[in-house]
């Protein structure tokens, strides 16, 4: 039972990070219908920005807020300058451009911060060896509790933004029918850029939380997290923010259980593959994810 709760806690905390990045993917997909391959790398760059501010003596919380602002500007800027121009001409082009961003940002981070000694990003929460709480015999570190709490609060705020504000309504309008939305007087350009911006800001936070757990920053920081996040977005349904959160947490918990209970066959090396295979099977039954809407087509 102790093991069960241990895996559950670890899984929930890690899963909340996947869920944050997955939410970014879903926000972008709902807004513009694109899979942003560079989401993870944008998050990685912002994490370095947070570290840099912190290194210059800015308090950590303020650095994170600055990092999120940079993330917003990066996301919105990329959408307004590059993505929109290419998307008008070709959808496949957007894919290439997001891959190009992926490569470019990755290389940029290595160019700026590459040869420094491995940067230690201080954790946002107390992470001394004895900073933990025992619940049902399992160790729940404050750091992990903090990550989960921050992630859940941010998701809550985001849902309020979607459901209760005028801006959220505009976003939904643009997602469902851009042309009618424009005719109704919604500034679609600003809305689209903002949805990329929001995704960028959330990426910055998920990167910082993940960086705090990993400890050392490098250009490959977010690659695996990005795969988990896109798996979460797929499992939840690419147009369902709630689905992304539930799927992110489920994947986080699920991989801990798979790795923990089958150390010989799955273990740490195969847990990503095992999680992906499970999702694969789920998709065979529900091709649009658990909470995604099925596309109905008129011929």
């Amino acid at each position: 039972m102790e093991r069960f709760f241990q895996y559950l806690f670890d899984g929930l905390s890690l899963g909340s990070i996947y869920a944050l990045l997955a939410l970014g993917l879903v926000v972008v997909f709902r807004g513009t219908g694109h899979l942003n391959f560079a989401q993870g790398e944008m998050a990685m760059i912002c994490t370095f920005v947070v570290w840099q501010f912190n290194d210059w003596g800015v308090p950590l919380v303020l650095s994170i807020i600055l990092g999120m602002i940079v993330g917003f500007a990066l996301g919105a800027g990329v959408e307004a300058t590059i993505i929109r121009g290419v998307a008008k001409k070709s959808q496949a082009g957007v894919f290439v451009v997001s891959i190009a961003l992926f490569l470019g940002l990755n290389s940029l981070a290595a160019m700026i911060w590459g040869s420094l000694p491995p940067e230690q990003l201080p954790g946002l929460f107390p992470d001394e060896p004895d900073d933990f709480q025992r619940i049902f015999g399992a160790v729940w570190r404050y750091e992990y509790i903090g990550v989960l709490a921050v992630a859940l609060v941010l998701m809550g705020l985001l849902f309020l933004l979607f459901a209760k504000t005028k801006f959220g309504l505009a976003m939904r309008a643009v997602a469902s029918n851009p042309e009618s939305a424009r005719l109704a007087g919604i500034p679609t350009g600003i809305v689209l850029a903002s949805s990329w911006g929001i995704a960028g800001a959330m990426g910055a936070l998920s990167g910082t939380l993940w960086g705090g757990i990993v400890g050392e920053l490098n250009a490959g920081l977010m690659f695996t997290v990005f795969i988990y996040a896109s798996a979460a977005a797929t499992l939840g349904g690419f147009d369902s923010p709630g689905g992304a959160v539930i799927a992110g947490l489920t994947i986080g918990v699920g991989e801990q259980f798979l790795a923990g209970y089958f150390p010989g066959w799955i273990g740490q090396e195969m847990k990503l593959s095992a999680a992906l295979l499970t999702i694969f099977v789920v998709l065979l039954v529900k091709p649009s994810g658990l909470f995604g809407s099925t596309k109905v087509e008129r011929v």
Binding site: G104, I112, L283
Partner: protein, 361 residues
């Protein structure tokens, strides 16, 4: 502007000219260039094969696949295992790899029957992530040698082909791999062309344009999709065999075996021109050229780039590659072949033969 009737003498002369130019390049490269240059052309051939195979599935059938690196790896590993453990002659492994990959491709196609669009992208991404971990998995180490991979998988002595004469040493091997690569590229191209211009190819395009409508018109979605995935996987595996024979090494982290391989194949295909027969060929050449040029620029400290990027800790090669890709997509949203067709139309127009004319092709 020049107007030429399709099938007229002038049209044939134009085609002959194109063929002559290509033949000239193909003969000139291995006889006149340095062996490292020849090797780069072989690299381009490898990418062309993979991108052509991906083009069948994505460009013509509209089924996104980020899993082709796995087929590529299956080809490479089949060759390595057969040569090392079973003493096969390298040439025959092409056939075996194609058969193995065909079967795996058909199995991977099964989810594509139900899952579409972005969801299919993730399922195939899962295949790409799964393959290297499976190869590295300790329970399969007896077959794949785990994470250290397999080495010295190559022609010990290059076979003697009467036309080429006797080829010796490293340079000889480079020349031989060039010709071998060229043969595989031509074969792959002919298979793709044959498929695309056939009834089966029409069915593929119908599925791409509107799946439901295609089904209503009598296209059997199941067999068509399964077959095209199988053929595509088999062709991609040929690229994998060629790559392994060229470098002599294959590891789970090797070039094009991981997820990054799939991404490169997609880049090559889209930059060249998705859904065109020549797109992947142009894309492969351009990509390898860009990759090598940016790497050279990245290592030189002089000139304008040295001034621009002198502060950088690491080479800006990938950043420049990314920027160039963005520029290409702005200038040629339908790929380089799309751009060439648009510009070419201003110079020469091939007037198609009237529909229903009975002139034999």
């Amino acid at each position: 502007m020049l107007r030429i009737d399709e099938g007229s003498t002038r049209h044939w002369l134009l085609r002959l000219l194109g063929f002559a130019v290509i033949t000239f390049i193909v003969v000139w490269v291995p006889t006149q260039m340095s062996s490292s240059r020849i090797g780069q052309f072989t690299d381009a051939f490898i990418l062309m094969i993979a991108a052509m195979s991906l083009n069948l599935v994505l460009g013509f059938t509209g089924q996104i696949s980020i899993g082709h690196s796995a087929f590529f790896g299956i080809g490479g590993y089949t060759a390595a295992i057969l040569i090392k453990d079973h003493g096969w002659s390298p040439g025959y492994t092409f056939y075996a790899a194609a058969v193995v990959a065909f079967v795996v491709g058909c199995v991977v196609a099964l989810p594509a029957l139900r899952i579409r669009g972005i969801y299919l992208a993730l399922v195939t991404l899962a295949v790409a992530v799964l393959f290297p971990t499976l190869v590295r998995w300790k329970k399969l180490a007896w077959l794949t040698d785990g994470s250290k991979g397999m080495d010295s998988v190559r022609y010990e002595d290059v076979p003697v082909w009467p036309i080429l004469g006797e080829l010796k040493g490293r340079e000889g091997r480079a020349v031989f791999m060039f010709w071998l690569g060229l043969i595989v590229v031509v074969a792959t191209y002919l298979v793709c062309r044959g498929i695309v211009k056939s009834r089966f190819g029409r069915a593929l395009v119908a599925i791409r344009d509107n799946e439901t409508a295609a089904a209503v018109m009598g296209v059997n979605l199941t067999t068509t999709k399964v077959l095209v995935f199988g053929v595509s996987a088999a062709l991609c595996a040929l690229g994998g065999v060629l790559s392994t024979l060229k470098s002599g090494v294959i590891t789970p982290d090797g070039q094009y075996v991981t997820l990054l391989g799939s991404i490169v194949f997609l880049l090559v295909m889209i930059v060249g021109g998705a859904g065109t027969l020549w797109g992947p060929i142009i894309g492969g050449l351009v990509y390898v050229w860009l990759d090598n040029t940016t790497r050279d620029i990245g290592t030189s400290d002089s000139g304008i780039l040295g001034a621009l990027f002198g502060w950088a800790d690491q080479s800006p090669a990938t950043l420049i590659l990314g920027l160039v890709l963005v520029v290409i997509m702005f200038a040629a949203p339908y790929g380089l072949v799309g751009l060439a067709k648009r510009l070419g139309r201003k110079v020469v127009v091939i007037v198609p033969r009237p529909v229903g004319s009975s002139t034999p092709r």
